[in-house]
């Protein structure tokens, strides 16, 4: 059983007909992990015992003729910043060593209630801070398309697991592109929903006004299936949106004729990989051929987005990560010279370089004398970025951009230059600052065989439109 050659709905249908047992599929997934993950390093923790237990339970349901859930027996992977009860959650950090959450995140719980089987927890940049999954405290994940390249980040393990057929669907989290960039680099689909659409309960907080959970899958339909299951209001997240969820699968195949698509001129920057640019021009043509109306638009504050993002995200992170002080979670160091000594020694030993750098930057931006000049200023520019999108969505229904200015870069290439790593997020972070939904889907490969991603953005809560447009593209593209 190769997960790359079968979709989730077909798999569930095979189970229903008794053509395949869940146990044998789960066994083949772990065989694939044994073969592949020694090179890719997508997983931090495997949940083998639990997965086989789940599989046996579903198999006996099938034998008893009971009805199945939409994702019954579908093997899924979870980014290691989401809680799954009784399984360690590391966040890619030494800080949480030995921490096992006593509860399960809402999004993970909903996947499990829909029948999905968690096979493991995936690698990530420490506390989701990074764009390459090289910042994990344990090991770097490699891109299944070329093991010398990064898978993107910070949800690199989740993207690589799906791309390598080691899971059918996976969950990631996206604060500034952490789902869409790895999706693009690994050649899979990944969607970041509207802020508040998916509950963040049980997601380790990085930047609370930006974080959002979303799924990866090899196809748009599977992405839609997973999102339909995990989204919706949750009492346990105070920022969860209490507004009805549109059905995501119902109209997936409807035409996108007459949909208006904007191409922001600010996103076609100098320094963009010419192969990515050429590919994007082909994508535009695909939509034109489907009867969409394309027009150039302007998002004038795009240039300020990275600066705005790195002030807001680090400020929020410096506050969120204050809780890791050796008292309640994971490791504890020092303490001979009292409580403050314990705090400082624990944090010095527990956090990696990039996390410390961001905590320092965020603390600096919030500190007396600099708050107005940096943090407050960034919140105001955020308003302007939001207004840019509001204006744009008066004229168009969707916005089409590259997901990343380049394809996957080589491991180590940007590791010593934090600023150049930050700049690689240029096309994905505006979406988080404005709270919009965004999807990255594969749109071909470059001459070296590395995947290129196309990004679509839509107005708040327009996930159904986004998925429909992505589905239609995928269909047209496969025909080509």
């Amino acid at each position: 059983m190769n997960l790359k050659n079968i979709t989730a709905d077909k798999l569930v249908a095979l189970y229903k007909n008794g053509d395949l047992s869940v146990t044998e599929v789960i066994r083949s997934v772990f065989d694939e992990i044994d073969r592949t993950d020694k090179d890719v390093h997508a997983y931090i923790t495997l949940c083998k015992e639990r997965a086989f237990e789940d599989a046996r339970r579903i198999d006996s349901k099938i034998a008893a003729g009971e009805s199945l859930e939409p994702l019954s027996g579908v093997p899924v992977a979870i980014k290691d910043n989401m809680a799954l009860r009784d399984v360690p959650t590391s966040c890619g950090s030494k800080m949480l060593e030995g921490y096992t959450p006593p509860y399960t995140a809402t999004a993970v719980e909903r996947l499990r209630t829909a029948g999905a089987i968690v096979v493991g927890k995936t690698n990530m940049d420490e506390f989701a801070m990074g764009s390459s999954t090289e910042n994990s405290a344990f090991f770097a994940t490699r891109n299944p398309h070329n093991l010398d390249c990064v898978p993107g980040g910070s949800s690199g393990g989740s993207a690589a697991a799906v791309a390598a057929g080691m899971a059918m669907i996976s969950l990631g989290s996206d604060t500034g592109g952490s789902i869409r960039t790895p999706a693009a680099f690994c050649g899979v689909a990944g969607i970041k929903p509207t802020y508040g659409r998916v509950s963040r309960y049980g997601l380790v907080a990085f930047a609370s006004s930006l974080d959002q959970i979303g799924p990866f899958a090899k196809s748009v339909r599977e992405c839609a299936q997973a999102l339909e299951v995990i989204c919706g209001f949750d009492h346990f997240d105070s920022t969860s949106a209490d507004i009805p969820v549109e059905p995501l699968l119902r109209d997936l195949e409807h035409s996108v004729k007459d949909v208006r698509i904007g191409i922001p001129r600010e996103y076609f920057i100098p320094g963009m990989d010419p192969e990515v640019k050429a590919r994007l021009e082909k994508c535009i043509k695909v939509y034109e051929d489907m009867g969409c109306k394309l027009e150039e638009i302007s998002l004038p504050h795009t240039e300020q987005a990275i600066a705005t993002y790195y002030l807001i995200a680090t400020a929020e992170a410096s506050s969120n990560l204050a809780r890791y002080d050796g008292v309640r979670y994971g490791v504890r160091k020092g303490g001979d010279a009292g409580l403050n000594d314990m705090y400082r020694k624990t944090r010095m030993n527990g956090f990696g370089k990039e996390v410390k750098r961001r905590i320092l930057l965020g603390t600096y931006a919030l500190s007396a004398g600099y708050y107005d000049a940096y943090y407050l200023k960034a919140l105001k520019v955020r308003t302007l970025i939001l207004q840019d999108f509001r204006k744009a969505f008066e004229r168009v229904d969707m916005i089409l951009t590259p997901t990343s200015p380049t394809v996957a870069f080589r491991i180590g290439e940007k590791a010593d230059d934090p600023l150049s790593m930050y700049l690689s997020d240029i096309f994905t972070i505006t979406c988080n600052l404005a709270g919009l939904p965004g999807i990255s889907i594969p749109c071909g490969k470059n001459s070296a065989g590395l995947p290129i991603g196309m990004q679509l953005l839509a107005n708040h809560f327009q996930e159904a439109l986004l998925l429909r447009a992505a589905f239609n593209f995928e269909k047209a593209f496969l025909v080509q």
């Binding site: 009860r85 006593p102 509860y103 719980e109 209630t113 802020y195 508040g196 006004s209 209001f233 009492h235 346990f236 997240d237 105070s238 920022t239 969860s240 949106a241 209490d242 507004i243 300020q304 990275i306 600066a307 790195y310 002030l311 204050a322 008292v327 309640r328 303490g335 001979d336 009292g338 409580l339 403050n340 000594d341 314990m342 705090y343 400082r344 020694k345 944090r347 010095m348 410390k356 750098r357 905590i359 320092l360 603390t363 600096y364 500190s367 940096y374 200023k377 960034a378 919140l379 105001k380 520019v381 955020r382 308003t383 302007l384 934090p418 600023l419 930050y422 404005a434 709270g435 708040h460």
Partner: protein
């Protein structure tokens, strides 16, 4: 603006972080570059712009009733760990 090693030390203290002496110079250099980069925001006129803290109009923060509520697979927090032991907080003069 250049961030000095003294400032790195000061901010580290605010953040309850200890920064090794040999890391200080590199951090000061990296943070200076990042701060210089973010200072491009000074070019933007925000004199009549309100800050954004909540993105979605009309979505109010959901606050539930202050009752103990069970949920599927509910948490064992508080059952397993009742107390956290920490080093001495108050020292004699």
């Amino acid at each position: 603006m250049k961030i000095t090693e003294t400032e790195v030390e000061y901010v580290a203290k605010l953040a309850n972080l200890e920064v090794h002496e040999d890391e200080r110079a590199e951090l000061a250099e990296q943070l200076s570059r990042i701060v210089e980069y973010v200072e491009q925001l000074n070019k933007v006129d925000v004199s009549s712009v309100e800050p954004t803290t909540q993105i979605l109009d009309g979505i109010k923060h959901a606050v539930r009733d202050d009752r103990v509520a069970a949920r599927t697979g509910s948490s064992d927090a508080g059952k397993t760990v009742k107390l956290f032991k920490v080093p001495k907080v108050i020292t004699e003069r």
